[in-house]
């Protein structure tokens, strides 16, 4: 049984990128404004959930051939890894640092190691949410 979802699928194709971009924006804004890894990750997963609603599970798996359980584990590894990075500088676990660098197009930017920790959080949130949704969805 295949109903005709042309409108939903066409809108999704456009809106998906807007949501994804907004989630990345929110993610990078976390240091100075509301946002961060958790909400960014949730928003990315909501974009993928929209994809799941418009298409079916198999299509999404073909488009994104990743095991989301591994995404979760990788996120944990990144987060713990940033904590362990401080071992090399003889600083206490989870010490963070930051600095300013000049980039060609973007100008001077503040780079903080807390961002790497946030990437870990982001990956864990995306991985967990989609694992839950895919596992429940597969049962049908």
């Amino acid at each position: 049984m295949k109903s005709n979802d042309v409108i939903l699928q066409t809108v999704t194709n456009i809106v998906l990128f807007i949501i994804l971009m907004f989630s990345v924006f929110i993610f990078f804004n976390g240091h100075h404004e509301p946002g961060g890894g958790f909400i960014g990750g949730l928003m990315t997963s909501s974009a993928l959930v929209l994809l799941l609603l418009a298409y079916d599970l198999e299509t999404v798996k073909r488009v994104l051939p990743v095991d989301f359980k591994h995404v979760t584990a990788a996120g944990l590894l990144v987060a713990v890894g940033t904590g362990m990075g401080s071992f090399f500088f003889d600083a206490p676990f989870l010490s963070q640092t930051y600095g300013y660098r000049h980039f060609p197009v973007l100008g001077e930017l503040e780079l903080a190691t807390a961002l790497i920790f946030d990437i870990g959080v982001y990956l864990v949130v995306v991985g967990i949410t989609l694992t839950i949704i895919q596992t429940i969805g597969e049962d049908r």
Binding site: K69, H70, V80, P92, F93, L94, S95
Partner: protein, 494 residues
């Protein structure tokens, strides 16, 4: 060297994460988790040695100084308990390898086992009350998964109750922390202690918060009248999982009562510690009543877990240095011996094919080593002198006498006798009595199951015979608990 204290938490955490990747490589999963468990023992023993020689160790996470950042505190009590946890986690892991089954192993059993150890280690080492909550949740969420892992009907039913009770108690924990934060304005345990001790007038609201914390940790640690969820949920999962639960989970609740009732809430001991003593006595009584009443070997053992909670908390409630040293010694002994007994009972149920005493008998004919190991473990549990349970109980009674709690001492003596009765009944009916087995491996073999039990009994024997070596450590720990100023000075460095 700066980061020494993080390793007991980091090691199982990293192992758990790595085990998430190759789900079907059981060989890899087994080898990695065993290697990590051995390394954990080495690390915790090294930390114990360091704390013994150099005093309390602290680690300011992220480089933020104490009241503002999270601090890990390795005082003697925490370090003794992390070492015991590491020692008990290895044999239970080995037992699980030969008994848990391929199906469960493929579905992240080892990863969640490591996460459980992470949470327990974190709860012992943290110096921040909200961080304690987070570590509790790490431990509890792993335990939710382990209790339902495998998805048998009984596990599904009991995990539902277990999760419900623990979610409610966690909500109470958050509420209690919120109250405490509203009153004192800090979450760091050392600063909490300092602020509460510096109060000039008595603050009834702090007593209320103290009781709220007692309810929370009583729910986690199965204190009377909050023990009701424990018997059913600890008999549901496979014996290796029940063993790690019985050995560790309630003990984290007890440790938290130790911490909060010795370091933080010492402003109105007349009320709070008397309440603790009465509840401890009721817990002993209810535990042994349950242990004597049941015919199911798993149930008997589970009620003995509850009785032991009473013994330890009575030691804390005396507020004497002897009583606390006894409680610490008994806590360590109890982690080891409950682990051993759960494993032995697990092996017994496997070879007898049933957990009901009426249907088993004469196991000693085919399984003499199992039988005599069980006998030794029972003697150690009850506290027959050369074994490990003796010194702890003796010191608790001594401390109780110093505090003048003679009625509770009498309850404790009677409870010890009934513990002996309940456990020796398993030995008499299960191992002696009419022989029900035709061949040694009629229902299952003990292959690979006895070595972990033997290891734990050896540790217990060491605790008993080498008490001379262990007692000074417990005494140091008790001294820190008795004089919170030592703890405060070590953390806040003033």
């Amino acid at each position: 060297m700066t980061n020494l204290l993080i390793w007991p938490i980091l090691l199982p955490l990293l192992t758990g994460i790595l085990l998430l990747f190759p789900r079907n490589q059981i060989r890899f999963q087994r080898v990695l988790s065993a290697v990590s468990a051995v390394a954990l023992i080495a690390v915790t023993v090294f930390i114990l040695w360091t704390v013994q020689n150099e005093g309390i160790q602290t680690l300011e996470l992220g480089g933020w100084t104490p009241p503002f950042g999270i601090v890990l505190v390795g005082d003697m009590l925490a370090v003794l308990l992390t070492t015991t946890t590491a020692v008990v986690s290895l044999p239970i892991l080995l037992f699980a390898m030969s008994s848990i089954g391929k199906e469960r192993e493929q579905f992240y059993f080892y990863a969640f086992y490591q996460f459980l150890i992470t949470g327990v280690m974190g709860a012992f080492l943290t110096g921040d009350i909200f961080n304690l909550f987070v570590c509790f949740e790490v431990m509890l969420i792993s335990s939710y998964i382990l209790i339902v892992h495998g998805g048998t009907k009984k596990q599904l039913r009991e995990s539902f109750k277990y999760v419900l009770v623990n979610i409610i108690s966690s909500a109470f924990f958050v509420i209690a922390v919120a109250y405490l934060y509203a009153v004192t304005g800090t979450l760091n345990m050392a600063q909490l202690s300092q602020r509460i001790n510096s109060l000039e007038s008595d603050a009834p609201v702090l007593t209320v918060i103290a009781v709220l914390f007692l309810i929370v940790f009583g729910l986690k640690g199965a204190l009377f009248p909050l023990y009701f969820w424990l018997p059913a949920s600890y008999t549901a999962p496979p014996s290796a999982i029940a063993a790690i639960f019985g050995a560790l989970l309630t003990k984290v609740g007890m440790y938290s009562i130790f911490r909060t009732y010795t370091v933080i809430f010492t402003h109105d001991t007349g009320f709070t510690h008397q309440l603790l003593a009465v509840l401890a006595a009721c817990t002993m009584a209810i535990g042994v009543i349950g242990a004597v009443a049941h015919q199911d070997v798993k149930k008997i053992l589970v009620y003995n877990v509850i009785a032991a909670v009473g013994f330890v908390l009575f030691g804390v409630s005396t507020l004497t240095e002897t009583g606390m040293a006894g409680a610490i010694f008994y806590l360590i002994h109890d982690i080891i011996i409950k682990g051993a007994l759960f494993l032995l009972i697990g092996a017994m149920v496997i070879v007898a094919g049933t957990s009901h005493l009426k249907n088993m008998g004469g196991l000693i004919k085919h399984h003499p080593r199992l039988g005599w190991m069980f006998f030794t473990a029972v003697m150690a549990l009850v506290g027959v002198p050369p074994l490990s349970g003796f010194i702890g109980k003796l010191l608790i009674i001594q401390g109780g006498a110093e505090a003048g709690q003679y009625v509770i001492i009498a309850v404790m003596m009677a409870a010890s006798l009934l513990v002996l009765y309940s456990m020796i009944r398993i030995f008499l009916y299960g191992f002696y009595g009419q022989i029900q087995l035709e061949t040694a491996d009629q229902y299952g073999s003990t292959k690979g199951l006895l070595l972990p039990c033997a290891f734990l009994i050896a540790v217990s024997a060491f605790l008993g015979l080498g008490a001379e070596a262990v007692y000074p450590l417990a005494a140091t720990a008790a001294e820190t608990l008795h004089e919170p100023q030592i703890y405060i000075d070590a953390v806040l460095k003033e």
